[in-house]
């Protein structure tokens, strides 16, 4: 197999993987702080992808610009969701949380199916067919832009958590729930803020992915699983881990599709997941709780 073909596929896998990583970052942040697994994560991303296609069809708005209003709307939705529905479930057993988010996921997927039907939709922008050539490797413009958007968002989020006062307060809640309450932090508000931020991440990831992938309602559950795989491989609650996991999965899926069979590619992701769970359950970059 020619080397440049392998390199091309690997690079495009890495770029797509960064966007997957941003999606998983949302899940990781929510789990790391609120300790609730968002089983509706992929479905939320699918909604964002639909939002990007509609804004494009109606207003000719480029998905990367559409990402801003969509992220704002998702932030509000996530905040509301955590504040009203999920917050009472924070202390309930996991199977209760699972059913709650599963119900939300079912409503989202089938709501999309009701409104838009089962057919695939996409965005057609002129840079989708163009590419840069660097040293013999062709890089899709659309993928490169999507990966850049993912990196910018991830950096912004990282900066927020590391340096801003609110970000520090959220990390305090994650470290010590009781301690955070004792010093007077409004934990409910901070949890809702975290869920909002995680939702905004997934919104931006969805808009970026809409220039790379076609969207159908059925994409949701598959994306939820993908986000789990990435987050566990990278380490639940670790921000850098989510991006690393995304890159690993994006690249291994692309290469498995090239070398073995496209239909077998998710087997590698799940195989990798099983190995990581058994031998390094905290994930590659996670720390053991």
């Amino acid at each position: 197999m020619p080397l440049d073909l392998v390199l091309n596929v690997a690079v495009s896998g890495i770029l797509t993987g960064l966007v997957y990583g941003l999606m998983a970052l949302g899940l990781s942040v929510i789990f790391g702080v609120v300790r609730v697994v968002n089983f509706a994560h992929g479905e939320m991303m699918t909604v964002a992808m639909y939002a990007a296609t509609i804004l494009f069809a109606a207003l000719k708005l480029d998905p990367f610009l559409a990402a801003l209003p969509v992220a704002a709307a998702f932030f509000a939705f996530g905040y509301w969701l955590q504040k009203t529905l999920i917050n009472p479930f924070v202390t309930r057993p996991m199977h209760s949380q699972f059913i709650l988010l599963l119900a939300i996921a079912i409503i989202l997927v089938n709501g999309l199916l009701m409104i838009f039907g089962p057919d695939a939709r996409n965005v057609q922008v002129d840079y989708q067919l163009e590419s840069f050539e660097i040293g013999g490797i062709l890089i899709d413009k659309a993928r490169l832009y999507a990966a850049t958007a993912a990196l910018i968002t991830a950096t912004a989020l990282f900066t927020f958590f590391r340096f801003s006062l609110t970000g520090k307060a959220i990390r305090a809640c994650a470290d010590n729930y009781l301690g955070a309450k004792v010093v007077g932090l409004n934990v409910k508000h901070l949890y809702a803020l975290t869920f909002g931020l995680g939702s905004a991440c997934v919104a931006i990831a969805g808009c970026a992915l809409s220039v790379v992938l076609e969207v159908t309602p059925q994409l949701g559950p598959a994306m939820t699983l993908l986000a789990f795989v990435i987050v566990i491989i990278g380490g639940m609650g670790s921000m850098a881990g989510a991006l690393l996991g995304g890159v690993l999965i994006g690249m291994s899926e692309a290469l498995a599709g090239l070398f073995i069979a496209p239909s077998a590619k998710s087997m590698f992701s799940f195989g990798l997941l099983i190995l990581v769970l058994l031998f390094r359950p905290q994930g590659l970059l996670g720390t053991r709780a």
Partner: protein, 322 residues
Amino acid sequence: MSRSVAGLLALLALLAALPFFVGPYLLSVLTLVLFLAYTGQAWNVMMGFAGQLSLGHSLYVGVGAYAAGALFFHFGIGPWAGVWLAMLLCVALGLAIGFLAFRFRISGVYFALLTIAFAEFTRVGFDHIGWLGGPAGMFLRVAQRDTWDFANFRGPPLMYYYTMLALAVAAFILCAWLLRSRAGYYWQAIREDEEAAQALGINSFRWKMLAVAVSSAMTSVSGVFFAFYYNNLFPEQIFHISRSIEILIGPIVGGVGTLFGPILGAAMVTLLADGLTDALMALGWDIPGFKRVFYGVVLLIVIIFLPRGIWPALARRLGLHA
């Protein structure tokens, strides 16, 4: 207690008589209810009794179905032999997963995701096994549908209904006995507080393994039934995560850890989904997706207002033991 027993016997009599009063469509719905009640009972042994959340029970349905199905398809060996192979494979698989998970101290969310990972891994794997038909599926021969051929498990829908009824009753009795046995009390102790249970000298590893073994063995029988009832097997359908969800929704809605919860939950969820289909057809609102949205909303309402399930709340009203 005697009131509960009387109620159960009345329900059993009703279920036994029901096929004489309903049409073929309703009979198939009732068979599905019993199938989900039985499988939910099996899932409940692991989650409800021992506290180990499995989101990948489709694995055991699928492996059980393919084991007995392949024996019949390739060698003409009927399900009465096949069910033992199915059980053997599923228990071995369950014990392997349980051994890895419990030895490596994987619990909670991680355990649940591990079960999904194994089911999904197997789903994609089966797509690449040509001997079992791969993604194109495996179809079991249906020679006749008129008379009861119990040896090959071929016959009219009534036969499948009564088989499933017998299985559901057997599972109920088995679970009632298990819950009051030494294993049942150990499981509940582990479910409530594993460290405390271990401090009392319970070998939590061994008893959790037993829960997985019992649950996977019971679920493998669902798989065998599935293969011979539907006669077609596709990895995409049988191993899919939506099948695992279908299995666990009944017990959770009905009441996790209760004996009657899986039965009540399976009945409510299935009848709701099917009743809704009919109602919407009659109204002419045949919009794809609408039914599932409604289903999601009902699920949401139940889990918000009755977090412990319907049966515990109902049992209290009726003055019965949950």
